[in-house]
């Protein structure tokens, strides 16, 4: 029982990070129908920038409390990622907006390769460890071990999701985003500056990605130039699982994928009589994804899109 609870907690923490990254995928997809392959790399850059700032601050002002240092890292990483996403959209996606859909997909892949290798040149091939700045308090909860960091991650993720929901549902920009997602042409006719809305979408997604990047590196204690790839893949899967283009779908899909993965890793050995071990964790996630999509082809919360002629 306590193993179950422990894995559930771990899964929820991982899942809320997936959900944050998935939001970026789903927002861009909702508006442009583009799989923004470079989004995972934006997460990675966020983590790397934050770690650089943290390292520099620890050298310059060793007396600063750890939480402040990490916060400063996040606060620098957010605008850095925003600028990056703005640039990516402007250079690699905007000129191809009228091109066939696979063309921007290829540039997205190209941008992803560029960012990965730039990061490798700048930060090196080795793993960068996250300095132990954050308080290591932890609690016992019905036999499960919960750290303060885990609680903060989940709480922060939920706050961001709520904030994003408010932004999309209650503000002028949010309304413009929803209108653009429904029909770019009609939104334009109604006086929406579509280009600006699309830029805003990328920027918001990148800001969330930066926070997710810091979270993931703080959680695992590591950052690496290649970390964005698998994370992006999982997050995109989560977005599809929930129903791509749907914000709640991305949140639900992320949390579900995290929990499934953690429980799968914890129990797969018992389930298969020791035949398959925990290194099949990723397989588990993908099997569930395929299974769900076979029975619900447009994801858990996706609208049933009528066959368009």
């Amino acid at each position: 029982m306590d193993i179950f609870l422990q894995q559930l907690v771990n899964g929820l923490v991982l899942g809320s990070i997936y959900a944050l990254v998935a939001l970026g995928y789903t927002m861009v997809y909702g508006i442009l129908e583009l799989i923004n392959f470079a989004h995972g790399e934006v997460v990675m850059i966020g983590a790397m920038v934050a770690l650089s700032v943290i390292g520099a601050l620890m050298g310059a002002a060793p007396d600063l409390p750890g939480v402040m240092v990490v916060l400063a890292g996040i606060l620098v990483a957010i605008p850095a990622c925003m600028a990056l996403a703005f640039g990516i959209e402007k250079i690699a996606y905007r000129p191809l907006r009228r091109a066939p859909r696979l063309a921007p997909l290829i540039t997205a892949i190209g941008v992803s390769i560029i960012l990965q290798n730039l990061a490798m040149l700048i930060w090196g091939r080795q793993y960068i460890s996250f300095p132990p700045l954050l308080p290591r308090a932890s609690f016992e909860f019905f036999g499960a071990h919960i750290t303060l960091l885990q609680i903060v991650i989940v709480a922060l993720a939920l706050t961001i999701m709520a904030g994003l929901w408010l932004l999309v549902e209650k503000t002028r920009l949010g309304r413009a985003m929803r209108a653009t997602a429904q029909s770019r042409e009609v939104a334009q006719l109604m006086g929406v500056n579509v280009d600006r809305v699309i830029s805003a979408t990328f920027i918001i997604g990148a800001a969330i990605a930066a926070i997710a990047g810091v979270m993931v590196s703080a959680y695992y204690g590591l950052a690496h130039y290649y970390m964005g790839f698998m994370l992006g893949l999982k997050a995109f899967s989560a977005a599809v699982l929930g129903g791509i283009g749907n914000l709640f779908g991305a949140m639900l899909g992320g949390l579900l994928l995290g929990v499934i993965e953690a429980l799968g890793a914890g129990y797969i050995g018992d389930l298969t009589g020791g035949f398959l071990g925990s290194h099949y964790q990723d397989v588990f996630a993908f099997f569930v994804l395929i299974g769900v999509l076979v029975f619900r082809p447009s994801g858990l919360l996706g609208e049933r899109v009528a066959n368009r002629a």
């Binding site: 129908e33 066939p100 859909r101 290829i106 560029i114 290798n117 599809v240 397989v283 002629a309």
Partner: protein, 370 residues
């Protein structure tokens, strides 16, 4: 350029003869000009051409976005290794293993396609991607409880291709002519590539190919015309998978060693880039894309020498810079030629069309939308 091509167009036989002579002499020209390691690159380029032709059936002809195509390549390669290496002690001949491998991959294509082909567009993409990862992870871990794939170490000592008394793994001395193994494989791969090209071109113009084009352009209209869209899509999937399995078997025999590392998601993406970059649906374009994307990364290895020659020393490690330039090339080529380098005639028309028509065409299935 036209002045050279014009007389050739008037004499197709001459053009054909010239092309055949060029293809036959290519390994010698490349070997003499650039060194024998480049003949190996040439062999890989042909393997990628085979893969790209196969994926083009799925993506370019039928309009189904497949991001896990390399899994079929892996299945073909592993089946070859199981049936022709010391791993299980089986050493079946090449002409028997290759078709079995292709059929094995094709069977998996049907197994994956049957439940998932009613998914649309990007949902299908993510499912195929997941399938590719599943296959790779299984290959990586199936060394226990029984050793099926030898895990991350991979399987080695795979039998080279043997035809009659001729082993492709050894240098052939023939009437004073010396043909190293890579040269022999070049001709073998060339033969398979030409065969694949022929099949792909004939398929495109056949009843099946026209059905695929109809599904790609408008699935509902195609169904209304009496096309069994499910069977046709399944056929495209199986056909593409078969090509992948065939290329995988050849790869295993050529390399003599396979490991899960050769079958990552990046490889799937690379093959997709090849066909989109070259010009989707158009066989010459697909071939050009495959050759370019195999050769460019290899050519970029010379950046180190270039730096030494111009700057006196190596400033940036060339292997670090290589992929960076590759990514830049991908973006730049797509920005300048969004329809690919050699688009098919139909696609070119769609691009030149007026806005309204163009917009409608862009929302069509050709671009594996929806």
């Amino acid at each position: 350029m036209n002045r050279v091509l014009e007389p050739l167009r008037a004499r197709p036989l001459l053009a054909f003869a010239l092309l055949a002579a060029l293809l036959a002499a290519l390994p010698f020209l490349v070997g003499a000009g650039l060194g024998n390691s480049w003949v190996r690159v040439l062999d890989f380029a042909l393997l990628y051409v085979l893969l790209a032709i196969g994926l083009n059936i799925v993506v370019g002809y039928a309009g189904l976005l497949d991001l896990g195509y390399i899994a079929f390549y892996a299945l073909g390669a592993y089946l070859y290794a199981w049936l022709a290496s010391p791993h299980f002690g089986l050493h079946l001949p090449f002409w028997a293993v290759l078709p079995i491998g292709a059929a094995f991959a094709g069977l998996f294509g049907v197994l994956l396609g049957a439940p998932t082909l009613r998914l649309r567009g990007d949902y299908l993409a993510i499912v195929t991607l997941g399938f590719g990862e599943i296959i790779r992870i299984f290959m990586n871990n199936l060394n226990a409880p029984f050793n099926l794939t030898n895990g991350p170490q991979g399987m080695n000592l795979i039998d080279p291709v043997k035809l009659g008394g001729l082993s492709f793994g050894k240098t052939l001395h023939f009437h004073g002519l010396t043909l190293p193994s890579t040269y022999l494989y070049y001709y073998l791969f060339l033969a398979f590539t030409l065969l694949a090209m022929f099949v792909a071109l004939r398929l495109r113009d056949s009843r099946i190919g026209r059905a695929w084009a109809a599904i790609r352009e408008d699935e509902i209209a195609a169904a209304a015309m009496g096309i069994n869209t499910r069977d046709m899509k399944l056929l495209a999937f199986a056909m593409g998978a078969t090509f992948g399995g065939l290329a995988g078997g050849l790869f295993a025999a050529f390399q003599g060693f396979i490991s899960p590392e050769s079958f990552t998601l990046w490889e799937s993406i690379l093959v997709l880039c090849m066909i989109v970059l070259g010009g989707m649906g158009n066989i010459p374009g697909v071939i050009l894309g495959a050759v370019l994307l195999t050769v460019i990364p290899e050519a970029l290895r010379y950046i180190g020498d270039l730096q030494r020659a111009t700057l006196g020393h190596v400033v940036v490690d060339p292997s670090d810079l290589r992929m960076l330039l590759f990514g830049t090339a991908l973006v730049a080529m797509m920005l300048f030629r969004p329809a690919g380098l050699l688009p098919s005639r139909q696609r070119k028309r769609e691009f030149a069309a007026e806005d309204g028509v163009a917009a409608q065409e862009q929302s069509s299935l050709y671009d594996t939308k929806a």
